[in-house]
Symmetry: D2
């Protein structure tokens, strides 16, 4: 199979580096363009990231030698643009690329809530892809934008989906302990984390309280009708490198047994007949040890794409509580953007 | 004023060391006896703790020279016994001391739920002290036991009290991020905390889900009638030395405004007319910065006896959520046991 | 005694905050001016630091209300200026103040190696103060600059002094594990410290390899003749809030016994007849436990002004090795600058 | 090729778990026996380690089902025994296995300094294997013991070897910042590492000061003549999961240029013609960035078998200083024991 040429917008930042690492070894895609701000454009990728490459794997040799381009669609040799842009510039640049005919897979928040833009988690709502037809029409272009949710939402919605399917969600409360890499580099000061919990992440609670309802919404013609359950969130940063840990409590329309909860988690595998290299074998791994999942030990399960769930127990105030762990820069960012494009390919949305 | 002679049971452990530090400089008490297990008895206190003294302050010189005695009431030169015993021996030893006529102020869990033993937080339920009369009668002794709650409960009940007084608590959900010192020394392995959250603390959730109802219960003749609100807890250990951080959500009988919540917290000061050296000036400190309280910066407020509250906001699933921070070895252990005895003295329960 | 009015230059930064905290309760000084960059000037001190106050103690109320001024000597109501300025502006501003008649006590590196500027550690070289007479003459002003060394040098030279006095230093090798607060706020990214040692601190090794020779130099008329011993340094940042830990190896002209080393450390107290509120009771504390000193347990010894020394042992490659610990923002910065001015007062160098 | 059957002694501990993980996927070996203390023997391996498995990878399924045996040579179905035993039992058990005809590859300290037991680092001294002929003779058995050095020595001797070959080592000084996993599980208390450096590791400095001279010694007939250079060590534990970081200073017989140092490191590859699956492509990786190597980013280089070297610079007190990083449970323990047996196979020392 001929590989599809892809580019990364914002290729020098933390999420951009992850895209580069993951795309270089991808079976469907060939990374042909790395774009970034003026500060970097014109340099080789190596020159542009040398001081800030924070990934264990080496910079792929072929990419190191690429010239960094501006974030402008003109003259780029690729069909798809993965956007790791900062949200204060992503809005317009992604518009430009979509209008110029590119498929844009964005990790930024700007267009997530747009009516004709899918907020996609393939295991949860792959059928939402249909709404891009309306988007193309609006743009009068073959281009379009798809998005993936905020890193802490991405892990949460996966166990919520089978709960909602089987027992109807009513209320969800979540307290997060989020990893440092979620804030990019340099992100938080070490001084704020030493012997400490840092109890504030700008905008995070608002995203967690609104994105799940769109993601679990019903496809309704050319748009998505948001689900009606309530979500409340309290978000914190802890001294963990990767892996968002979340303490969840749920109230359902009817209260199932704990065995039914476990069974619905373990049976959940809506992508099993899709050929998507980045999907995990099991989207949800239920751990039965009393002290699991833990960020350091479990974040890489399913190559960072499985969500680990543990300590499921009855709650005195709602129906059930459980802990979940999901890798924030893989499931919560770059690898989900890539999975989304694999889904586009599989479903025939790419030329 | 003549000082009252006191002893510490379990004086060589982590909580015992705190008692020693705090009692040595106390205006009411003179620490005259340090008791511990056979391993230590017969040694000087210095010899017994040298390798495991984990408090910044030096071992007080006078105490260093004391001989460590057995945990037996015979021949001890003191009236009051502060118990920092491990729960697997505390039950019987505390009984022995109470029956032998000592006032026992215990930090252990064993007798907390006994019907005629106060589970005391002076700001919340100082009137519960009355039930020790029934206890003395049962024992046919001048001795008795009083207890303070589990370290993570101790901080929680203080803001719950004014909420319950003003708006009646219905449900309380709490997710904790607890400090290392709560597990004693050596406690958790560093390997379990590096780049990690450790999501299990044995017995902790059960205590948090049952103790608050007794503490906020109503004095009813010779016993306490537990309050009826529900509590659910999810407890975790994080890499923080001291200071339990808790994300709380509450549902009340009637929903107040956020200003009313803040006002009831700030007005709360039931001990203001008591002469108790260990009470904080303000039991609750409401912090308005978006990122406070934080364990490292705020745990020592009110000499470790104030509970800091912050990020009060409306919740989408219950009425309000907020964060609280309380010092687990001071408010949550040794200094509360001492405050309890100060209250005994102030209210005339000591000979 | 009338208090001497003092100001702080760079009062809003990390070291500046320490000056404010320490000066507000000082028996000799009254903090009357807080100066900072244009960004802050005109605001109240509270407004200027609110978001970045990183000290446990509250902002002193009186100072909170002061207006922040420019870093210009004109119209300031104080005699002494404590400089916590960043080194990229400190050079000229400190000159301006000295030329305008102020006594400047600087924590910045800019003038440390100037021939007529004392690089002062009172326990080590209080007689170096004499060279400010030459400096005043050069300036044709009553003003002058005195400096304290780099934070990691400050702790090192104190045990070096008695070794040099008794046995003549020949070589000193030091490997540091330095605290986060040494880099100011925000300083290092938490990502660089998680599960890591960060092995680079810009300019630090150069300072440690050259400052000790001036500090231990001999007063020689109007200047200081540097000592001839060699120093080599390897500097690292570790995940510790405060307290620089250093592994030192020394070669001396003649090799003493280990008892002689300990004795010369313990006997060292050259300031015992000076009235200086910020001097510690013992400049060097020798710890004999096999695992001390440790940053968390020992950094506050002597109110952060004692240097703790431990694990003294013979070395196979030089004569002796030992560990030392010194508080980097107290002994290594603000409190040493204050001690220096106390010495000025005591020795009659202030009007 | 038929795989060689091997067993692991002490298979349930931290190093034993690493052996299990590594051997299960090894091209030469088939793990057929897992042995441990009485506490575990008779259980399945899964039952024996379930609560203490601290490796990210899952327990290999085939091994999980094996029955744990006693650490006794009788009736075991394997030719080679990898020993991960605790040193307080390793001495005699390893003797028993060697005398019973097994090749024993030990990670324990007990026999390291025995005259006819190789202390092996294949890149440094593969010719030392010859001395096992004398050992077999002494035992009157086909069995024998080989050992690998202490984890912190293992990384150090690799760059020392080319320096010694080219420029003759005279003195080596090393200060270590060692990872938690070096102490096994539970190892250090989290309380000793929070906001701290722990400055003591029992027996570590003694091993680092004596093992290198044997490892770099000359084969001299049936034994090894130790090298004469001096080593001094100061060992510390820091809050890092894996990867020992060491600050090294060396004095050589003749001082080379820094380019010559780098060249001799980069040219070093004595195993390049050996077929050893566990050897790294490059035993030494010289990093030129000013802030590398770092434990988190670089410990897995060469699958944990390369030693990373950086910040090479002239020293004011000896000739050169540099930092090194080596993975303590791979290069410093289990994988080196395996590499040693691969060397045995390659050189024809196995039947």
């Amino acid at each position: 199979m001929r590989k599809i040429k892809v580019g990364v917008l914002g290729a020098t930042g933390t999420v951009g580096q992850r895209f580069v690492e993951l795309l270089e070894k991808h079976p469907f895609f060939e990374l042909s363009e790395v774009c970034a701000s003026e500060k970097s454009s014109g340099k080789t990728y190596l020159e542009a990231v040398r001081e800030k490459w924070k990934i264990k794997a080496e910079i792929p040799e072929r990419i190191a030698a690429l010239e960094v381009k501006d974030c402008s669609p003109k003259g780029l040799d690729c069909e798809i643009a993965f956007s790791a842009l900062d949200s204060n510039v992503a809005g317009q640049i992604e518009e430009n690329f979509a209008n110029a005919g590119f498929a844009v897979s964005s990790n930024s928040k700007n267009h997530r809530m747009d009516a004709d833009v899918p907020l996609l988690v393939p295991e949860v709502n792959h059928e939402h892809l249909e709404i891009i037809n309306a988007q193309k029409e609006r743009r009068n272009s073959e281009g379009f934008i798809i998005t993936n949710p905020n890193c802490s939402t991405a892990g949460l919605v996966i166990p919520l989906k089978p709960l909602d399917d089987s027992f109807r969600l009513d209320k969800v409360h979540v307290v997060t302990m989020q990893a440092l890499s979620g804030a990019g580099y340099p992100g938080n000061s070490a001084i704020d984390l030493i012997d400490n919990v840092y109890p504030f992440i700008s905008g995070e609670e608002e995203k967690m309280e609104t994105e799940p309802q769109k993601i679990l919404g019903k496809l309704n013609g050319a748009s998505v009708k948001n689900a009606a359950f309530k979500v409340s969130a309290q978000c914190n940063r802890v001294f963990v490198s990767d892996g968002h840990f979340e303490c969840v409590t749920v109230e359902l329309e009817k209260k199932p047994s704990i065995e039914e909860i476990i069974e619905c988690f373990e049976a959940f595998n809506p992508l099993k007949n899709f050929n998507l290299p980045s999907k995990p074998e099991k989207p949800i791994i239920v751990m039965k040890e009393k002290d699991r999942p833990q960020p350091r030990l479990d974040r890489d399960k399913g190559d960072g794409m499985s969500v680990c769930v543990g300590r499921i127990k009855e709650s005195k105030t709602m129906h059930y509580s459980f802990n979940l762990l999901s890798h924030n820069t893989l499931r919560g960012a770059a690898m989900s953007s890539i999975l989304n494009v694999e889904l586009l390919a599989e479903k025939g949305f790419l030329k």
